[in-house]
């Protein structure tokens, strides 16, 4: 298993390198000059040229790309043109906030979404199932921004129970987590319902019931583990997206996370910020997918056996 993990980690290197080259090339060709934004209207063409030279923006594509790749190898993503701070240290500083928000959100999603999906599957096509499916559809179609504002108006302004913005203790994360999770929660509930429905009709579940096992045991011990693989896939990709930064939630609740950092960088053509953030997201996503695969192996011994075989063959 350890060899499998090692192999997957090594596979990440070409992925990250490709992402780095792609994003660098895209940013190189995207029109919009960071120097013009920085210097404003009063700069003369000579001053603009001098600033471009200072930031190395006047060098040819290949030289800039090479310098950039060499920097990445040394974990140096460059310095933000606008903020003057190191991109790597800024990402490092913001990561805990994004991680907290994403982890709490995925936890909330799983803890609430999976039981709802199971209940819906057990009571398929009954009134409770229909109500939950209606609510999950509502959750899916409700814009996060709007929901966030409603939650703030109710819990912060009207009831005065929770802070409306900022970071601090756990209480600052309650509203952002709920607003961030509703869409994923709805997705996971629906996915769980459909997977469970498929499994519940299987022969071994019928057999378990026929043996007289209590319904709870049938569902939680026999049905759910076999329905988990697609649910884990959805959870994994949702968690990956959340770790990439949820711009709207961060913006509404003034959480200085990765998402806001990247969007500010894009708007101001702050190349080092954009490139560094995207490489971070690519790494996080690849890493989460690896974790997801490992969880597959944990919940399903057949998959674990496949991993071991594939490593031996290689």
């Amino acid at each position: 298993m350890i060899r499998y993990i090692g192999k997957r980690l090594l596979q990440m290197i070409p992925i990250l390198l490709t992402v780095a080259i792609l994003i660098f090339t895209l940013m190189y060709f995207v029109p919009g000059d960071p120097v013009e934004i920085m210097l404003g209207d009063t700069a003369t063409p000579e001053q603009i040229a001098a600033a471009r030279a200072k930031f190395g923006l006047d060098k040819p594509y290949l030289i800039r790309l090479w310098n950039y790749l060499v920097g990445i190898v040394h974990l140096d993503f460059g310095t933000s043109y606008l903020q003057g701070s190191s991109v790597a240290s800024e990402l490092f500083l913001r990561f805990p906030r994004t991680l907290t928000l994403a982890s709490l959100s995925i936890l909330f999603t799983i803890v609430v979404g999976i039981p709802i999906g199971i209940q819906c599957a057990i009571h398929a096509n009954k009134l409770s199932d229909k109500i939950w499916m209606f609510l999950t559809m509502l959750g899916n179609s409700m814009p996060g921004f709007w929901l966030a504002l409603l939650l703030v108006i109710l819990f912060s302004v009207k009831l005065g129970l929770l802070p409306s913005n900022g970071t601090g203790g756990l209480e600052y994360y309650i509203l952002p987590v709920v607003a961030n999770s509703i869409g994923s929660l709805a997705d996971i509930a629906r996915q769980t319902r459909s997977s469970m429905l498929e499994v519940i009709r299987s022969d071994y579940v019928v057999t378990a019931r026929a043996k007289g096992l209590p319904e709870k045991e049938v569902i939680w011990k026999h049905a759910l583990p076999n329905a988990l693989i697609p649910i884990i896939t959805v959870c994994g990709s949702r968690f990956g997206f959340m770790l990439g930064g949820t711009v709207i939630i961060e913006s509404v609740f003034s959480i200085p996370g990765i998402g806001m950092y990247m969007v500010n960088g894009i708007n101001s053509r702050d190349y080092p910020v954009v490139q560094g953030s995207i490489i971070y997201i690519a790494f996080i996503f690849a890493f989460i997918m690896l974790i997801t695969d490992l969880i597959y192996a944990y919940v399903d011994p057949r998959i674990k056996a496949q991993y071991v075989k594939s490593v031996k063959k290689a």
Binding site: A51, E90, V157
Partner: protein
């Protein structure tokens, strides 16, 4: 199960009803804000105050202020940004302090410099106090001033230093001669105390790590950084052993009316209003769409509102590059465009009204020095659809035959674009809107082949002639000017207006801009500052941004900030 489902459904409905149905400005939270209703206002007035309470004689402990942007750099020579415009002068001193927008050198207040005397048009003698030291005890001398101005140009990209300043001649530790490249209204004022100028000790800066420069800089201003969380908040504390111990020599910028200033980043406009209403912050600025929560002609109970004049003019420029635009070679078409545009409707289209914006009657705003009172209400390309149509027809084109490419930004309200397009279509033009993000907009605006009309927001540090100089001085452009004019007479009039700055020169340039029909100032938006009513007066700095250190508080004011 059914009961649980029902309860959740009911809860969801309650959230929607409570959330949507409430009147945000009249909530219970507001009425708890206290005492009598703050009042103030007066559109485009510098500094207003609430009548509630008595002004505090001493320093209050804390104030929490909502900042509007998250990306900023507080190191000594950081790149300019909106938050930096608020707080740079809390941290770093300049030679003189600009007490209000557009102040002249004579009206400016001495800060690090004891005096600035004019030797001749391009030479000024500067004398520093001989007891200045920064927050880490380093003495500030002439050498540090020279070092700071060099770094402001090279590091902070403050390009105007290079445009205005030739060199600084050091006479001794406290005396210098500033040799200028150009002279006229606003030039020495800029070099003496613009909000972007920051003075820092040379030895400290050269020996400091990046981390120290960012988080614990040696400051020459009245506040130092207590804590800084990038993107989230910046807490400043009054420097206890501030170098200027003589209170009578303090200026507006180094007043210490507050011991701790907590700047809290809240980028979303409505969330800043909610934070005010929810008593999470004491003061902030809001956009026009939020003003009605706090103001209905006068400040609503619980609030202090300060509405200050706009320093940016939303302007339409016409492409004057011959052969690149149908407008450049046809005066009738240009006149048709300018007569067709209804500044007032365009302003309303952006969701502004008389309490949040005002129409401009020149290329500049009424807050700028040199803006003539006689222009207000004058015939400045007044909206005249019949005349616009007439000019269009005089150009010999059929309706819809001339297509205009209007370059603008995605951040501009759609309503503004809609009204401009409707105005131009009514005159006979066909309009193609090219709306880009700021970076793309910046790339295309200097290319005369990309647009026929451009909607841009232009400002100045004080005098209206600076605004004109920034945009029509050929030295700043590879292709004539902001709208590609190649007009010697225009440049000649500009030189006179920017160097002499007499009323006649200003009037002559204004009239000539009108005559050649290359630009129309549309409207300016006010700065809207809101505070809890225990803050009696919200002062502004030389850039019309909040000067929190000089806010005036009611006796015993306690910050509402949590």
């Amino acid at each position: 199960m059914k009961k649980i489902s029902g309860a959740i459904l009911a809860a969801a409905l309650s959230i929607s009803l409570i959330g949507c149905g409430g009147n945000a400005s009249g909530s219970g939270a507001n009425s708890a804000a206290g005492a009598s209703g703050g009042q103030s206002g007066g559109a485009a007035q510098n500094g207003t105050g609430a009548a509630a309470g008595t002004a505090a004689s001493g320093q209050v402990d804390k104030v929490v202020v909502g900042l509007t942007a998250s990306s900023f750099d507080v190191s000594p020579f950081g790149t300019n940004s909106i938050p930096r415009q608020w707080l740079a002068q809390n941290l770093y001193g300049s030679l003189y302090c600009m007490p209000y927008y557009g102040a002249t050198l004579e009206e400016m207040e001495p800060w690090l410099a004891k005096s600035i005397e004019k030797v001749d048009d391009t030479t000024y003698s500067v004398e520093l106090y001989d007891y200045i030291h920064d927050s880490k005890g380093n003495a500030i001398t002439s050498e540090d001033i020279v070092f700071s101005y060099e770094h402001l140009f090279t590091d902070a990209q403050e390009t105007r230093i290079n445009t205005y300043l030739d060199y600084i001649e050091v006479v001794d530790d406290q005396h210098m001669l500033f040799h200028l490249k150009k002279y006229g209204p606003g030039v020495m004022e800029f070099l003496a105390g613009n909000y972007t100028l920051t003075i820092c000790d040379k030895d400290w800066f050269e020996g400091a790590s990046e981390e120290e420069r960012m988080n614990d800089p040696a400051v020459t201003g009245a506040y130092k950084i207590a804590s800084y969380t990038p993107g989230a908040e910046l807490v400043l504390e009054a420097v206890e052993d501030y170098w200027q111990t003589d209170e009578s020599l303090r200026c507006s910028a180094d007043t210490q009316n507050v011991k701790t200033i907590q700047y809290k980043v809240i980028t979303e406009n409505s969330m800043r209003s909610i934070a005010l209403e929810n008593h999470e912050i004491d003061a902030t600025v809001v956009d026009a769409s939020e003003l009605k929560r706090f103001y209905d002609g006068s400040a609503l109970p619980g609030w202090n509102v300060n509405i200050t004049g706009g320093v940016f003019c939303n302007t339409i420029f016409v492409n004057m590059d011959s052969g690149k635009s149908p407008l450049a070679d046809d005066e009738n078409l240009r006149k048709a465009v300018l007569y067709a545009l209804d500044s007032e409707s365009i302003m309303y289209g952006g969701d502004y009204d008389e309490s949040t914006a005002e129409v401009c009657y020149s290329f500049g705003t009424s807050a700028m020095n040199g803006y003539q009172e006689s222009w207000v209400g004058s015939d400045y390309w007044g909206y005249d659809p019949a005349k616009a149509k007439e000019c269009y027809q005089a150009s010999g084109h059929a309706d819809g035959q001339v297509t205009i490419r209007l370059l603008s930004r995605t951040s501009i309200a759609d309503g503004i674009h809609s009204v401009i397009i409707a105005n131009l279509q009514a005159a006979g033009f066909k309009v193609e809107l090219l709306s880009y993000d700021q970076a793309l907009f910046n790339s295309y605006k200097n290319d005369s082949s990309q647009w026929d009309l451009i909607l841009d927001n232009k400002g100045a540090t004080g005098p209206i002639v600076s605004c004109w100089d920034n945009n029509f001085n050929p030295a700043g452009y590879t292709n004539g000017s902001v709208c590609f004019t190649h007009d010697d007479h225009l440049t000649e009039l500009l030189t006179k207006a920017t160097t002499e700055g007499s009323t006649e020169d200003i009037q002559a340039f204004h009239e000539y801009l009108k005559e050649i029909a290359c630009v129309k100032g549309l409207f300016t938006t006010y700065n809207l500052m809101i505070a809890q009513d225990g803050i009696l007066e919200q002062k502004v700095n030389g850039n019309m941004m909040p000067r929190v250190n000089a806010y005036v508080f009611a006796e015993g004011y306690q910050s509402v900030g949590k």
